[in-house]
Amino acid sequence: MRKDSGFFILVGAMGLFVSINIFLMTSGKLPFSFDGFGIILGAGLTLAIYSFLYKDNAAFKIVENLYVGVSLGYTIIITWFNFLKPDLYDPLIIPMFSKAATKSPQYALIIPSLLGLFMLLRFSRRLSWLSRWTFAFVVGLGAGVSIPRVISAFILEQIKPSLHPVFSGGETIFSSINTLLIMLGVISVLIYFIFSVEHKGAIGKVSKIGIWFLMISFGASFGYTVMGRLSLLIGRIQFLLKDWLGILQ
């Protein structure tokens, strides 16, 4: 009995969706073109994902997997057109094998290409150790490049605005208090995350203040996250009402 009801809901929903689209097409609200069908497909996929809210079902899973597949395909194709072709195929491969090429091949590109190919050997059983060379290169380089830049951009630049006079001329008392509060907040949060000292006495009190600052900032993140997720929903409903059904102008 329960299985039947699920089946009827599915058939009913599909029937409704098809008849709405037939109406939209025949009344001319949607163009009889590739784009028109595209919008119908998009609306169908959107609704299929929302069916998850009723309950986890096959339509949702199909769309999710289809999405994974299409975006995978898109990534591969875009990587070819935007990266492999302009960066390796055109400057290295073509001049090497085509006599018509005007420019000489950039042989230096062979090194990173080899390292890149080594990385793919990760899936081979016998040669996977070669992939470690590439990982070592990439990870070592990343570490070396980032240390001084992190010091400069996230430590020096971030403590600089705090190293300013609290009471300088021309500022209101309110802004001085804010400067002090920011100072207190930064220090107390840092102390909260210090683990080699027992949080007792004065340090315990400051670390408690740190928790309050953290909680207020998590509250801000909470509010913003709610706003963000809702925005996505609003955008999708705008798509359904505007582009598909044509109710909104």
């Binding site: 001084p148 705090s162 220090i187 995350f193 683990f195 000292v197 909680m215 998590f218 993140s221």
Partner: protein, 413 residues
């Protein structure tokens, strides 16, 4: 009253010539006063592409008065090529603290950088070419060219002196980290404060045992490479050990096969340590799904079906955190979360009974595993934080009393 009127008139009459002269000075280019000093030098701390020019400000600096710089490759050349034209009330040394610092007199000198190779665009220029400059001050049609010829060569520099502060921090941090890792190896009983969340873990396990219901451990979505997962594994070890002692039932859900096999090992070992290897069932550590939403749906299903007494969410979570914790909370389970995913923390804090926040997760894992590398790093970072606090407090106090040297010491160029 009369006296007042009189004084007013007298002042007014006397000030007329003054006004006229000011207007004349402003309008007549004949009164342009050329700058006294004019110098050129290689820009320090650069790749060898630019030269710097500086000259003293003139009393006639105004928005409608311009400075024009002429460049030539020959000292006796015609100086016909215009290299730059700026408004005379702009480009002071104050705009270049990386060269002149924050001295008071910086506002009395102009400073510009030129890129000669770009000015002679396309011409072949010898690397060691010396460039010669002439300065002119101009307003309207009239122009005064200084006689002084300044010269400089653009040279590459081997050290960026203004980044010395950055380098010092690099060295200090490296030393601290190395020291404490070595130190922790020799002395593994380093002090670490107790992490509040770990007591909560024991409490939750106790209650689960009383209720005779299973305990559910939910891994995050990252693989074995991430520190969050590594920390989650050591916390799992602790939980499994307690579970074995209490003779309760533990279920561990995974979405990554490697994390799953590591978890199986850890749980097995914990049961072995507790002397109850027979109670270990590998089927209780299992893979439920590999993608985000199927994972959520499957874990949610387990929660509603088996109604565990305690749920643990440890590791790195994404948007699924909210759905997982919500489903768990509605089943009435005690929930404990630990994650360094700051965007998801608010949801754990409001839906769980206890949450390990950010770095507390690493600290908990170091506390439990006593691994020297983790302990040493943690301690080194603590010292780093202590130093930052010190700098912040000292710097603010000194800056408030007008001593800004500490502020400039920590400037990034």
């Amino acid at each position: 009253m009369k006296v007042l009127k009189k004084t007013f008139f007298i002042t007014a009459i006397f000030s007329i010539p003054f006004f006229i002269t000011t207007i004349l000075f402003a309008q007549l280019p004949a009164f342009l006063i050329p700058p006294a000093e004019f110098k050129a030098f290689d820009t320090p701390n650069d790749a060898g592409e630019t030269v710097s020019l500086t000259w003293s400000a003139s009393p006639s600096d105004a928005p409608d008065v311009f400075y024009i710089l002429y460049i030539d490759r020959d000292k006796d050349g015609a100086f016909e090529k215009e290299a730059m034209r700026i408004k005379s009330n702009t480009s002071y040394r104050t705009g270049a603290p990386e060269i002149y610092g924050y001295k008071k007199g910086n506002g009395n000198y102009h400073y510009v950088q030129l890129f000669p190779r770009k000015i002679f665009n396309g011409e072949t220029i010898d690397k060691k070419q010396v460039y010669y400059f002439k300065l002119a001050i101009a307003a309207g049609d009239s122009k005064i060219i200084l006689d002084t010829i300044a010269s400089a060569r653009a040279q590459g520099n081997w050290l960026h002196m203004k980044k010395a502060n950055n380098f010092a921090i690099l060295i200090i941090l490296s030393a601290i980290i190395l020291y404490f890792i070595v130190h922790a190896r020799r002395n593994p009983n380093m002090f670490l404060r107790k992490i509040g969340g770990l007591d909560a873990v024991d409490e939750a396990l106790g209650r689960a045992t009383e209720m005779g219901k299973p305990v559910l451990f939910v891994h995050g979505l990252t693989s074995m490479g991430s520190i969050s997962t590594i920390a989650a594994i050591s916390i799992l070890g602790r939980i499994a050990r307690k579970i074995a002692d209490y003779d309760a039932n533990l279920k561990v859900v995974n979405n990554d096969p490697i994390v799953m096999s590591v978890s199986q090992e850890v749980v097995k070992e914990s049961y072995l340590e507790a002397g109850r290897p027979d109670a270990y069932n590998p089927d209780n550590v299992f893979l439920v799904a590999s993608e985000q939403f199927p994972y959520v749906a499957a874990v949610g299903g387990i929660m509603t079906r088996e109604r565990p007494a305690a749920n643990f969410f440890v590791g790195y979570f994404y948007a699924e955190a909210l759905i997982l914790a919500e489903t768990g909370a509605t089943t009435g389970a005690i929930q404990i979360a630990g994650t360094d995913a700051y965007t998801q923390l608010p949801f754990f804090i409001t839906t769980c009974d206890y949450t390990l926040i950010g770095e507390e997760l690493y600290a908990a894992s170091a506390y439990l595993s006593r691994e020297p590398m983790l302990m040493g790093t943690l301690r080194a970072q603590d010292v780093g934080k202590g130093l930052l606090i010190l700098v912040l407090i000292l710097g603010t106090i000194l800056a408030s009393f007008g001593l800004t040297f500490i502020t400039h010491l920590f400037e990034a160029f």
